[in-house]
Structure formats: structure tokens, C-alpha cells
């Protein structure tokens, strides 16, 4: 019930934001400084444009995109129908559109989380059914075994559907092909991890769009000791978990999705690295096609495989 209320609330918010974005379109464009009057401007140190960095000799990264803008000049001549009218009438309208997109993404993230939960439940049903088959087999009860087998077959079919549903949900939300998601699964990545690492999970969707009080709370929590030392290591963005399978540093992002630049900058930037010494990714075992795989310098100590960094209390599952 509360989920329905939450969803209803979000949909209402989206509707209000959509109206807010749509309505001012008729307005003439102005450089709307008044619209942000309530904001406290604390600095502009983030201005990274025009830093004088002219040392770039060209982009050697983009194998798929061959566009060369070096000859675009700065005339501003777009030669198209929106040359005279920007799509957003003013910065406030752009900000509202951004908030609307975030709200829609939040709804999507909940759907992804539900799809992931669906897989978990379907897997549990399969495990239970498989145990029933085994029990019937042990009891040498042919009839019960046949019934249990039928239940197992049905549970397997449900699991297949749930997995397809999750694959589709993540693919659509992340704008990454279904094939890429499948390849991540083939690398033994769990649904939840894929969703988190692709930024379509509720736990990571808000990163960078989070309010300060939440950050403060997060930092305060980080200072707890004892038992929480381990639990916090498993939180997204907290990278102090010990990898109980491989003992080496986790490689950020997703495994798999080789060749898909839609995965993110690690596949599009030639400065990206492939992971720690002795990690699977640095040894080319994750089929990711990361930007740079040439950092392995032999040595290191972890001897095993595994990309789990969850750690948790030592009882949680890595993926």
C-alpha cells in the first residue's frame, strides 16, 4: 500500500513538473537571473571551461564515432530550424526539465528494483522446488517426485521469465543493449550489482543529486566502529571491503559488455584502466574491453578469482 502511495506521489510530482516545464515554452527567452534569486551562490570554482588546455592533439578514443568537430568553428551558425529559439526558454525551465527527468528515473529505478526482487523470489522458488524433488527422490516416492518435478519445471519457467524481465528493465533504463546486460550476467554479475553499477538502482541513482543532510548522515554513520566497520564496507561507494574470494582490489563498474560504449566512459576513454594487478579485469578475464588493459605488471598476491567486494559480515554473498 505504501509503495502504491509512493508511486502515486511520484507520478503526481512528475505531472506537476511536466506542467511546469511545458507551460513557459511560449515565453520569450530571457537570461533568467531572477529565477534563481533564492539560491545562495557560494562560488564558481567548478568552472572548468576554457582552462587554456590546448595541448590536446586529438581524440584517439572514439573508434565508433568518427565525427571531427575541429572544423566547426565558433560562428554559431547552426543552420537549422531552432537557430533562433532555444529549446528551453530560460535556465529555470532547463532546471525543471532536469528535475522531471530525475523523477522519471526514480520511478524506473523502483521498477528495476522490483524486477530484481522478482528474480530473487523466483530463484528461491526454484531452490525450494529442487529441494522437494531431491527429498522425494530420497524417499523413493515416484509420485511425489513427479509432482515435485512438475513444480520445479514451472518454477524454472517463472525464473526464466523473471530474468528476462529484469534484463529488459535494466536494458531500457540504462540505454544499454540486452546483449550487453546478458554478457554482464555471463561474467557472474548479479542483477543488483549490474543495476547499481549502471546507475539504474535506487541506491546509486541519487548520487550527485543528493542533499547535504543525507551526506552528513552518511559520513556520521561511517565513523561508527565495531560491527559497523564491516557492514559499512559493503555500502555502495564505500571501498574498504575485503574481498574474501580474491583478496585483490575490486575493479569499478561492470564486467562484460565488451565493445559497448553505452556502458560508460571506461569503454570510451583511452585513459581508463583495467584494474589492479592480478584482478580478473587486468588479466583480460572479464571481457569488458575497458579503455586500457595494459597495466598488469605481474606479481601481486591474490591467487584466486572473484569480483566480490561486498564482504558484509562475512556471511553475505559477493554478488
Amino acid at each position: 500500500m505504501s509503495m502504491i502511495k509512493n508511486k502515486f506521489g511520484l507520478l503526481l510530482l512528475i505531472l506537476v513538473l511536466a506542467l511546469a516545464v511545458g507551460a513557459p515554452r511560449a515565453m520569450a527567452q530571457t537570461d533568467d537571473s531572477a529565477s534563481d534569486a533564492g539560491s545562495q551562490v557560494t562560488g564558481d570554482t567548478g568552472d572548468t571551461a576554457d582552462t587554456g588546455d590546448t595541448g590536446d592533439t586529438g581524440d584517439t578514443t572514439d573508434t565508433g564515432d568518427t565525427g571531427d568537430t575541429d572544423d566547426t568553428g565558433d560562428t554559431g551558425d547552426t543552420g537549422d530550424d531552432e537557430a533562433e529559439a532555444p529549446s528551453f526558454a530560460n535556465p529555470a525551465q532547463a532546471a525543471k526539465a532536469e528535475a522531471l527527468a530525475a523523477a522519471v528515473a526514480e520511478v524506473s529505478a523502483r521498477n528495476v528494483a522490483e524486477a530484481e526482487q522478482g528474480v530473487t523470489e523466483a530463484q528461491t522458488a526454484v531452490d525450494t522446488a529442487a529441494a522437494a524433488v531431491e527429498a522425494a527422490r530420497q524417499a523413493e516416492d515416484a509420485e511425489a517426485e513427479a509432482q515435485a518435478q512438475a513444480a520445479l519445471d514451472a518454477a524454472m519457467a517463472d525464473l526464466q521469465k523473471a530474468q528476462e524481465n529484469a534484463e529488459q528493465a535494466i536494458s531500457e533504463a540504462a540505454s544499454v543493449s540486452v546483449e550487453s546486460i546478458a554478457s554482464m550476467r555471463a561474467q557472474d554479475m548479479g542483477w543488483g550489482v549490474i543495476a547499481q553499477e549502471l546507475g539504474v538502482h535506487p541506491s546509486t541513482l541519487g548520487l550527485g543529486h543528493m542533499k547535504q543532510q543525507n551526506k552528513t548522515q552518511a559520513r556520521a554513520n561511517n565513523r561508527e566502529h565495531g560491527r559497523s566497520m564491516v557492514a559499512k564496507a559493503a555500502q555502495p561507494g564505500n571501498a574498504t571491503g575485503r574481498n574474501i574470494k580474491s583478496g585483490v582490489s575490486r575493479t569499478p563498474g561492470v564486467s562484460g559488455g565488451k565493445g559497448s560504449k553505452a556502458v560508460g566512459l571506461s569503454r570510451a576513454s583511452d585513459k581508463a584502466k583495467s584494474g589492479a594487478v592480478n584482478s580478473n579485469s587486468s588479466k583480460g578475464k572479464d571481457s569488458s574491453g575497458r579503455g586500457n588493459s595494459g597495466n598488469s605488471n605481474a606479481g601481486g598476491n591474490g591467487k584466486g578469482k572473484g569480483n566480490s567486494n561486498a564482504g558484509g559480515n562475512g556471511k553475505g554473498k559477493g554478488h
Binding site: A49, A94, H225
Partner: protein
């Protein structure tokens, strides 16, 4: 005859030891831990002095989240081969899983005393110091790790965190940027970007593209022109690839140049042209443009930053 039997015995022992070194990693790599326990556990029973068999059996139990069982084998391995830093290191990991943090640290310290270049032991020593809030010690360990493995993701990431905790702001910003240059994807990158932005640096930003939070390197241009720098073009590649994968995706390119709307307009157009040139199948209507002669106001946490020159990407909700 006695000599022959002795040699045969030695050969058998060596073969058995050799097998453990070959077979042991196999079960780890294949993640067949239960089978590994069966095989190597049996081998250890037959050869109670075989440190390798004990070690791998301990590793399998640990991988199965059974740290208590794992620890007993790992301790046995360390006892049988006291000079092996790996065996000692893994007892530390098992102690961590059992939440015995003092013994964990002692194990790593012993491991680095046996092998000063043991990357993982230094890394996990650093992690332990972070968990305790002992920032200076953590920094020292991460610096050692990065001296041995310059692209170690967790050392790079936590080093930035630690510098922030030590109030070394410029170092923190540089460290986040270094991490993001090497590892610009995933939850760690999103968090790193958030932390970078909180420090007022917007070299990277998290954007909602489609229904996803994605880290992109911010677009910069040759001074006073609409020619984008090479660094940011990878972000356009990612955007283009996402638009190829999702044909419903439309993204506003919104450029800001304080006091120069025409330049902002040229920059928005240049970025669109770049994307369309590289992706001829993308309809230009899916990349609507906006431009403003003002700074972009970006709200991060409790602060609002004014970016005199910036480009934002905003998903069109249809």
C-alpha cells in the same frame, strides 16, 4: 635399492606438492569450492604437513563464507610454512570476516614483514585504518600500494577519501580526478564525482541520461571558441552509444557562457554536430539545443555553484 625407494618417495611427495599448486588454483578459478574442499581436504588428511592443501582448503571455505572453518586451515598452512606471506595474509582476511579486527591487522603486519611488497596486505591494512578513522596511517599504506600498483582502484579511491578527511582539499580534488580518469564508471565513480562536485570542481558530473545516473567528463572548449577539447569527446561517444541503444532517448544539449549567448549557442550546436557526424542514424530532433548567456547554477548539497561556462545534458521526458 634403498636409494631407489627413497628417490621414488621424494618424487611422489614432490608430485603431490606440485599437484596441490596446480589443482588448488583451479577450483578457485572455477569457483568450484565444494569440490575443492573435497579434493584438497582429502589430500590434506593424507598429507597433514602439506601447507598448500591446507591453504587452498581454507580459501575454499572462506569463499563459501565459512570463515571459521577457513581460518583453521589457513592457520595450519601458516604454521606449516611460516615464511609464506600469502598464507599469513589470508588468515587476516578470515579474521576480518570474523570481525576480529586486531588479529586481522596483526596478520597483515606480519605479511608485510615477510614480504614488504605484498600489495593486498598493504591495501587491507589501509582499509582497516580507514575503518578506524586513522587517516594518516591509512594514507601511508595507500601510498605504498600505489607505489607498487599505480592503478589500484581501491587505493586510489580511498586515498582521495582520506585526503578529504585530513582536510587536504587540493590533494583530495586531484586524487578524485585521478581516480575518475582511470575508473570513470560505476558506483564508485558516481560517488567520487559527487565528492568532487561538493568541493566545487565540476570536471566530471553525474547526469540523468534516460533513466540512468551516468558519470560524464564535462565538456571544455578551446578558449573563446566552440571547438571541444578532446578530453570531453569521450562523453559524447557514450551519449551517442546510449542513443543508439535506446531509440526513444532524446537529450537536450544546454550550453552556458556567461555574457556570451552566441558562443553558448555555437558550442551547443558544435556538440550536436559532433554527435550527428559520428552517429548519422540519430535524428537531429533527438538532440534539441538550448543556450544561455548566463552562468549555470548547480546545486550540490547545501551549496549552489555558478559555472560561468558549462554544458549540461538533460533527458527529454516524452
Amino acid at each position: 635399492m634403498k636409494k631407489f625407494i627413497a628417490m621414488l618417495l621424494v618424487a611422489s611427495v614432490l608430485a603431490a606438492a606440485g599437484c596441490a599448486k596446480v589443482v588448488g588454483p583451479y577450483y578457485l578459478q572455477q569457483e568450484e569450492y565444494k569440490e575443492g574442499i573435497r579434493v584438497m581436504g582429502e589430500r590434506f588428511k593424507e598429507n597433514p604437513d602439506d601447507a598448500d592443501s591446507a591453504y587452498y582448503t581454507g580459501r575454499y571455505y572462506l569463499a563459501l563464507n565459512e570463515p571459521e572453518k577457513g581460518l583453521s586451515y589457513l592457520e595450519k598452512a601458516a604454521e606449516l610454512a611460516p615464511g609464506n606471506a600469502d598464507y599469513v595474509f589470508w588468515t587476516g582476511v578470515a579474521y576480518w570476516a570474523l570481525m576480529d579486527f586486531d588479529r586481522e591487522r596483526a596478520a597483515y603486519e606480519k605479511a608485510v614483514s615477510l614480504d614488504p611488497n605484498h600489495i593486498s596486505a598493504h591495501l587491507y591494512l589501509g582499509h582497516g585504518f580507514v575503518d578506524r578513522g586513522q587517516w594518516a596511517q591509512a594514507l601511508k599504506e595507500y601510498d605504498v600500494v600505489l607505489g607498487l600498483d599505480p592503478y589500484n582502484p581501491e587505493a586510489l579511491y580511498n586515498r582521495a577519501r582520506v585526503l578529504g578527511e585530513l582536510d587536504r582539499k587540493s590533494g583530495e580534488i586531484a586524487a578524485w580526478k585521478q581516480f575518475l580518469e582511470y575508473y570513470p564508471d560505476g558506483s564508485m565513480a558516481m560517488t567520487a564525482t559527487e565528492q568532487l562536485n561538493l568541493q566545487g570542481d565540476f570536471s566530471y558530473r553525474n547526469h540523468i541520461i534516460g533513466q540512468r545516473n551516468v558519470t560524464l567528463k564535462s565538456m571544455t572548449f578551446k578558449p573563446g571558441t566552440s571547438v571541444p577539447d578532446a578530453d570531453g569527446r569521450a562523453s559524447l561517444t557514450v551519449l551517442g552509444a546510449m542513443m543508439k541503444a535506446n531509440r526513444d532517448l532524446a537529450v537536450h544539449i544546454v550550453a552556458y557562457v556567461k555574457g556570451n549567448a552566441p558562443l553558448a549557442k555555437a558550442r551547443a550546436a558544435a556538440l550536436r554536430d559532433y554527435m550527428l557526424n559520428g552517429n548519422p542514424n540519430i535524428d537531429r530532433a533527438r538532440l534539441p539545443l538550448s543556450w544561455f548567456g548566463t552562468a549555470e547554477k548547480v546545486e550540490v548539497g547545501d551549496s549552489v555553484f555558478a559555472l560561468d561556462q558549462a554544458v549540461n545534458f538533460i533527458t527529454e521526458v516524452r
